[in-house]
């Protein structure tokens, strides 16, 4: 597996690492058994993601996609953030090895899960807005 310079940059210097004490939307996806957990902390103000942090347990691509995803939605509206696709993350990273595409799916899901949590906290059913969140099936345990 060979990562692009962009991936290596985001792996080496991940943007927005950490936790947000005052987060009002938190999403965690992945499974330690699979070797990937992403946790995103959102601070949403007036429908805008004013701050974002992440913590990731996972491979280089998992860390880099988390970092890139946070960078791509920071300062964006919820609507814009919900449009973030895994392929946009892959593209922004100038590509990922085929075996690592699932990390970008995880990053997309982490964002959506955090937004869903934001709505849930507000007493709003997130499903009509965020859609159904399915378990990532990239990891097939034997």
């Amino acid at each position: 597996m060979i990562y692009t310079d962009k991936v290596m940059d985001h792996f080496t210097n991940p943007r927005n690492v950490g936790e947000l004490a005052d987060a009002n939307g938190i999403g965690e996806v992945g499974n330690p058994k699979c070797g990937d957990i992403m946790k995103m902390y959102l601070k949403i103000e007036n429908g805008v993601i004013s701050d974002i942090k992440f913590k990731t347990f996972g491979c280089g691509a998992a860390i880099a996609t988390s970092s890139m995803a946070t960078e791509m939605i920071k300062g964006k509206t919820i609507e814009e953030a919900l449009k973030l696709t895994n392929s946009a993350v892959v593209e922004a990273l100038e590509g990922l090895p085929p075996a690592k595409i699932h990390c970008s799916v995880l990053a997309e899901q982490a964002v959506k899960t955090a937004i869903a949590d934001y709505y849930t906290r507000l007493g709003i059913d997130p499903k009509p807005i965020v859609g159904e969140l399915t378990e990532c099936d990239a990891c097939h345990l034997h």
Partner: protein
Amino acid sequence: MKHFVYADNSATTPISDEVLTAMLPYLKEGYGNASSIYSKGREAKQALEAARQTAADCLGAQPGEIYFTSGGSEADNWAIKGAAAAGAKKGRRHIITTAFEHHAVLHTVQALEKQGFEVTYLPVGRNGIVDPEDVKKAIRDDTCLVSVMYANNEIGTIQPIAQIGAICRERHVWFHTDAVQAVGNVPIDVVKENIDMLSLSGHKIHAQKGIGVLYLRRGIVLENLIHGGAQERSRRAGTENVAAIVGLAKAMELACSSIEEKQKKLIPLRDKLITELCKIERSHLNGDPTRRLAGNVNISFEGVEGESLLLMLDMNGICASSGSACTSGSLDPSHVLLAIGLPHEVAHGSLRLSLDWCNSQEDVDYILEVLPQIIQRLRAMSPLWERIKKENIDYGI
């Protein structure tokens, strides 16, 4: 200057100067086909047969029992498929192996399972060592092969091969051992240890990649894996790679004559690493602490994922591995670590450092300087680590 530490010698080793020097004449003017009748061919043939003698001497074998192959994987495939085919002819379709063999063995027996063979995978326990009693119990009347590796490639544990060999000989079952990681690290005598078939690979002992040996005890006849010309006494076709073979023989000679010296050098380095790294909170040594290769360190760090650990080590000039090199790109944690009972989440966070002649006390010190910081950094951004600490998770290892 940036530090560079190659600590992945179980994945592959550089060709040593002596080996390359031995090879070069056959990469240059000594290009004759060893099957040709003219002097250039005869010279190649002589070099080939001298190499065979050297290889045999290193194993306590006879030159007529040495077959050169394209590496450890081919040797494993040939031994196992050949023994299975010979067994099937006598209605014996049961194979015994272990749960933590190299994929060259595991995937081969799995292919045989699809063809109707039955395979018993022996457990290896938390210390990564097969119990000879388990071999004894597993042997049936229809067992055609026992294949147990000499030393494990990930956790370095050394198996009781002589005992297993004695059991198999007594029960008249062919015994194969994948000794790819053992040659040059442990003294081997195929006769004393009752080994019927043994695989080894050049690139683990400073010879070229793409060359290996299958030792086949006199009297064991296997169907060819590669049919064709009359090379290797008609049992392995293909124009002989004389340069690589001469290099392999030189490498075996050097490796097998310096085992004690190597152990004397590496064991203190290994043990220093183990002692210091095990001081890191929630770290676990994998495999028996003493019955292991002199250069092998394999430790799991809870809450950390192996690939990012390796990448950060690489950025600091340290080459290491997590799981075996062959399966990088895979999402599955090492089958070896699962076999010794690690939970998936811990197996993911494992590191193998494999030391060799090239390594020094300075290397060890440098690793000990860099590695704990990396672990700390990764744990600081790991939601799994957060959870482990918060919930005080006990994996029971």
